[in-house]
Amino acid sequence: MVKLAEYRGKEIFRKYGIPLPRGHVATSANEARDLVAQGKVPLPCVIKAQVLSGGRGKGGAVQFAETPEEAGSRAGGILGQEFKGERVRQVLLEEKLPIAREFYVSLTLDRSRRLPLLMASASGGMEIETVPDEKILKIPIDPMVGLVSYQRREVAAALGLPPSANPSLDATLQALWRIFVMEDAELVEINPLALVGGALVALDSKVIIEDDALFRHPEYEKLTGDLTPLEAKAHEKGIAFVEIGGDIGVIANGAGITMATLDVLSQEGGAPGVFLDLGGTDDPKKVAEAFLLMSEAHPKVVFINIFGGVTRCDTVANGLVEAMRLAPPKFPLVARIRGNNEKEGVEILRKAGVGSFTSLAEAARQVVALERNGRNPGGPAPPSEAIPAPGGAS
């Protein structure tokens, strides 16, 4: 998902006509001071760290200034700092407006109804997750027709807006809808949407663009900020990789089978730590790459649980054998390779000294036993010896 920083979201807001406070981005204290001194940002002003995490207000990432010098020093105090692990490279300076009230509005996808959902609340300025459900107006929107006037009137009523602000609300909601559709957004949120002198102004922006639609929007780049270094490396190679801290590495194919493997290992008392989802690959090289990535996570034991549908077992087996040849693994390996070309795959692994289980429960028990061995000071046994021949399949 592509989550845009506040100022980038506001650039989109401006393009679609949503009223904003006057403001500019600065990347240095001097620049911040000059912007204010030159009158490009009116005083008093707000200085906001341009980071993607929420809770900036409490975290000191939002400051105020009354003079150009103060704006410069406050900006300097924020820039370069880390906020929830993210380095602050830009600040947004904006005029501080006399706010009468703060509202919440957003558009997102309602998966249950399979329709866009407009949400609005008179309780603006706080995380919407903390607002009680009955204080949030939710209106499903027909994607082919968009927002219509009675829905906008419902929002006005829910917000308790003065009638003078209605044209402003109508324009804002229509812009929100156009952004949602035209920019392929997963979420467009204005929180707070402030009432300032009878009209509405967007004080913050939250815009998330859908990954799958990026082919239509080359101007947005995919976000990898939340990932661990290894996850980011996997991400670059197009491999789904998740680290959660545990001993067992799991290589599976598909989200469902990955989760089911995790469920079984946990039930058997294991501590899965790394998941690597091969998806529907047909490419032995990709399997080898995945295996080498897994090695870098230093698991105590690795469980390969593959059911071949699109993926062929022999492809996976060839990739594994190739990877083991390039970098002999320092951990024991348990395999369960079933499905498409199962016989061929099992045979390839067998020739490379790796046995394959048929039963998931048995395989999982073996993995957990090896994990416990791995915790012993004796260190991991070599794979060819550590892996017993699988029990008889039915």
Binding site: L109, R111, S112, R114, L115, P116, E129, P143, M144, V181, D184, E186, E210, D211, D212, A213, F215, R216, A240, V242, I244, A252, N253, G254, A255, G256, I257, T258, M259, A260, L262, D263, V264, S266, Q267, F275, D277, G279, G280, D282, I306, F307, G308, G309, V310, T311, R338, G339, N340, S359, L360, A361, S394
Partner: protein, 294 residues
């Protein structure tokens, strides 16, 4: 008996000349499916796996009477490929393609509804009905896992479904039809819609639901089962021990705000009288129990 596909199904493959299109055309045919046509614009007149290729779905339908499609075309072109199938009068489309923008899916859903074309997927393995003589399949579910029988399977997962269907077959429990809904945020067919089909199918005695964390489709299925579904059901929910907030491969598997958790799904299904397996390999026994009171 079965739902969605059967001996009367005549399949066109959109994107047949691509790598996956070609492989799965072969697989569908060897399952027994009547794959009557392929479509790749500009490749009309050639053949793939013995199947004639046309430049448009309309040409394919006119020449062969195809009444179902399997769509393999890349995500940026999938919406238009689907609309082409609808305009050609095809009433059933399995969309295998992954990474279709949900905004596209919203308009596809509208278009399918208005014109009476059912969508399975996207990002799904398709639908398969095994047969004693020959089966029928749209999509990519592996052939060798099936055994003809009277249990319906509905799943949001891909590979896990194969695993589970395979375990049913190994346990001697055959399937009427297996429907892979796909895990995308906007599926063309939901659990509830698939359950309705099995409810009306005299060839199905019980249903296995394979769900996963995220979304509320399983909770809605529970409501439907509780109020209207007339057959026994067994379920498995993947992701009970998944780390909160981490994506497990696709958007359907993210937990947000305490909704869509494994707990809420298991609880809703249990309350609706569904037997919920803790692990996939418990499913065959549970099915045997609901079928035979064992």
């Amino acid at each position: 008996m079965s739902v969605l596909v059967g001996p009367e199904t005549k399949v066109v493959v959109q994107g047949i000349t691509g790598h996956q299109g070609t492989i799965h055309t072969r697989n569908m045919k060897s399952f027994g499916t009547e794959v009557v046509a392929g479509v790749t614009p500009g490749k009309g007149g050639s053949t793939v796996e013995g199947v004639p290729v046309f430049n448009s779905v309309q040409e394919a339908v006119r020449a062969t009477g195809a009444n179902a499609t399997t769509i393999f075309v890349p995500a940026p072109f999938a919406r238009d490929a689907f609309i082409e199938a609808v305009d050609a009068g095809i009433p059933l489309a399995a969309i295998i393609t992954e990474h279709i923008p949900f905004h596209d899916m919203l308009s596809m859903l509208y278009y399918g509804r208005v014109h009476g074309t059912r969508i399975i997927g996207p990002n799904c393995p398709g639908v398969a009905t095994p047969g004693p003589a020959k089966g029928s399949k749209i999509g990519i579910i592996p052939n060798m896992i099936f055994r003809p029988g009277r249990v319906g399977v509905i799943s949001r997962s891909g590979t896990l479904t194969y695993e589970i269907v395979n375990s049913l077959s190994e346990a001697g429990i055959g399937q009427s039809t297996c429907i892979g809904l796909g895990g995308d945020p906007v599926p063309g067919t939901t659990f509830v819609e698939a359950l309705e089909m099995f409810h009306n199918d005299p060839g199905t005695d019980a249903v296995v639901l394979v769900g996963e964390i995220g979304g509320v489709a399983e909770e809605e299925a529970a409501d439907y089962i509780h109020s209207r579904f007339g057959k026994p059901a067994v379920a498995y929910i993947a992701g009970r021990s998944a780390p909160s907030g981490k994506r497990m491969g696709h958007a359907g598997a993210i937990i947000s705000r305490g909704r869509g958790t494994a707990e809420s799904k298991v609880e809703a299904l249990t309350r609706a009288g569904v037997h919920v397996a803790r692990f996939p390999y418990e499913i065959p026994d549970l099915v045997r129990q609901v079928l035979h009171g064992g």
